[in-house]
């Protein structure tokens, strides 16, 4: 399905096209990796809504990226439960081994490092989201192993996200 078809299908769930802007931005970001101006304008045109409505959502909600992000977006939770379980040490470690500060991307475009507010997985704190997946009960050794596996997977993936891990019970 083309991006237009996917967006039109998503819009059918609502009586008002404006409601479909958020789902359309999710679809567009999956397609393009991030949401530069021309993509936002395309979304507005597909839905037939004001461009400013699309711009304001793309800049209000933190999961939308108007700037490029790395192939792997490391989103380390630093809210209270994760902080109590050592997220600061993990952030310092990531900054050292990747050679970047939080908010930045590695020069090879592989990693972007961010801290995020509560991911809603505090039972496995400290936790980090990478693409679609949550990685919990992290320590420095597990973090290193995770980075290695992400680097090793580069050759095998085609999109922004790597292969989703099965949930417990699958």
């Amino acid at each position: 399905m083309s991006m237009r078809e996917k967006i039109e299908q998503a819009a059918a769930a609502y009586p008002d096209q404006r409601s479909a802007i958020m789902p359309a931005l999710v679809i567009a970001q999956k397609e393009h990796g991030h949401l530069p101006g021309p993509v936002l304008e395309e979304v507005a045109d597909i839905l037939g809504v004001e461009r400013i409505w699309v711009y304001e959502l793309a800049t209000f909600y933190t999961l939308f990226h108007t700037e490029p992000v790395g192939m792997y977006h490391l989103q380390l939770c630093d809210n209270v439960s994760c902080m109590l379980c050592g997220s600061e040490k993990l952030l310092a470690h990531l900054e050292t081994v990747l050679g970047i500060r939080k908010g930045d991307s590695t020069a090879d475009g592989l990693f972007t490092l961010s801290t995020v507010e509560c991911l809603g997985a505090c039972e496995m704190a400290p936790v980090m989201q990478v693409g679609d997946d949550y990685h919990g009960d992290l320590d420095v050794a597990r973090l290193d192993a995770l980075l290695d596996s992400l680097r090793a997977a580069v050759g095998r993936v085609t999109g922004v996200e790597h292969v989703a891990q099965p949930l417990p019970g699958e």
Binding site: Q17, V26, E56, Y61, L84, C118, C122, D133
Partner: protein, 421 residues
């Protein structure tokens, strides 16, 4: 020994599949209400159960439903608040990942009760696994005739759509969520009108939390008296408690409403980590005022915690031990609220910015005499003066930290350093 109800399927292999849910008696509540109850009778049943909203505010669910006008030419909407952004909370995610049909049945029964044919589940975008599971479960339920047109041979039509959030805590506030569903920035609306009268697309709308909706099928099959018989009469039912932080066994625990916080933390969650002592517990997500160790006998229900100066909130129980600096915890909490402030009203937007600056300099050992009085003044300026509860939650939390752990704040200022570093 308490027998779990809400988490019955969670540890079961393939608990997310329709076949598992049906084998455990799933969708019998929907069958029962469609065959035997008028919508009004379902509302009455839920009123009788004393079910109170599990999202945080604890408003009586049956009463909320009864505010929806009967008849009228506008469609009615049911919205499920699955945005779960309150730090320390993860119960709704686990229900949706492991037992999504429990939520879908709750939605269908509740939709029938209020006369809604469409439900939107507003689920935070980070919950990719939960979204995937819920999508699969909705498709399964359609195939088996639990959703769609003429459900189980009745004249009830009902469809569930998923709407993904995109990283805004404020969407947990119900009117901000409605704005977001309408494709706008999530900023709270002025009330009245209340959503039950004019909510989504200015139509009558009920917004319920995931856990609240998950309780509904059990009330139908087991009865209102069963539900009221668990925990305190005015705040009853099975309850999901999310325990995290500096504790031996963090996790999701289903226990009766009203169990002592101390029992939850010490017995069920295993107590403090080896060699440490529990200093304080945040009982209901970071909006809930912190409770010092000597107050842990309090019952975990809406009324007992309110009487103790805190709140049950989302039952996100965060345990803090004696190795942790409370100024640092308070700073991190206020930084969160400041980051998530939608910017609509001045006391929240500017007040929290100011509070963050003062807290950061105290934690860095650069606090000045008068800083604590300034924090007191700022809390007073924010509390009760903001558009929605976000600012109130921030101010209440900080006030409790200043009250119970003032000596730690004073030590930072007097010693010009953090005593924990």
């Amino acid at each position: 020994m308490y027998e779990p109800v809400l988490l019955k399927n969670v540890e079961v292999a393939n608990g997310h599949l329709l076949s598992t849910y049906e084998a455990g008696g799933g969708y019998q509540a929907l069958r029962k209400v469609l065959g035997e109850y008028t919508p009004g009778e379902v509302v009455e049943l839920v009123k009788q159960s004393n079910l109170r909203g599990r999202g945080g505010a604890g408003f009586p669910t049956g009463m909320k439903w009864s505010f929806v006008p009967k008849g009228g030419d506008k469609p009615k909407y049911l919205c499920c608040n699955a945005d779960e952004g309150e730090p320390g909370t993860f119960k709704d995610r686990i229900i949706m990942e492991r037992d999504p049909h429990q939520l879908i049945e709750g939605l269908a029964v509740s939709g029938y009760a209020i006369g809604a044919e469409i439900a939107y589940v507003y689920i935070r975008g980070e919950y990719v696994a939960a979204i995937r599971r819920l999508e699969q479960a909705i498709a399964e339920a359609h195939e088996k005739g639990y959703l769609g047109k003429g459900i189980l041979g009745s004249d009830f039509n009902f469809t569930v759509h998923i709407h993904c959030g995109a990283g805004a805590y404020i969407c947990g506030e119900e009117t901000a969520m409605l704005e977001s569903l309408e494709g706008k920035r999530a900023q709270p609306r002025l009330k009245p009108p209340f959503p039950a009268v004019a909510g989504l697309y200015a139509s009558p709308t009920v917004i319920n939390n995931v856990e609240t909706l998950a309780c509904v099928p059990h009330i139908v099959t087991r009865g209102a008296a069963w539900f009221r018989g668990i925990g305190p009469d005015k705040s009853p039912g099975p309850k999901l408690y999310c325990v995290s932080g500096q504790v031996k066994k963090p996790g999701l625990y289903e226990l009766p409403m009203g169990i002592p916080l101390k029992e939850l933390v010490e017995e069920h969650a295993g107590g403090a980590l080896p060699g440490r002592k529990i200093k304080a517990v945040i009982p209901g997500g970071v909006s809930a005022p912190v409770i010092p160790e000597h107050g842990l006998e309090v019952g975990m229900d809406f009324d007992s915690l309110a009487a103790a100066g805190s709140m049950l909130g989302s039952a996100g129980v965060i345990v803090v031990d004696d190795t942790t600096c409370m100024v640092k915890v308070a700073t991190r909490i206020i930084e969160f609220f400041h980051h998530e402030s939608c910017g609509k009203c001045t006391p929240c937007r500017e007040g929290l910015n100011w509070v963050v600056k003062v807290l950061r300099r105290i934690e860095a050992g650069e606090g000045a005499p008068g800083d604590l009085e300034q924090l007191d003044m700022l809390c007073k300026g924010i509390f009760g003066n903001t558009f929605c509860a976000l600012g109130d939650g921030a101010a209440m939390g900080l006030r409790a930290a200043l009250k119970h752990f003032r000596e730690e704040f004073v030590a930072h200022i007097e010693e010009r350093r953090c005593p924990f570093h």
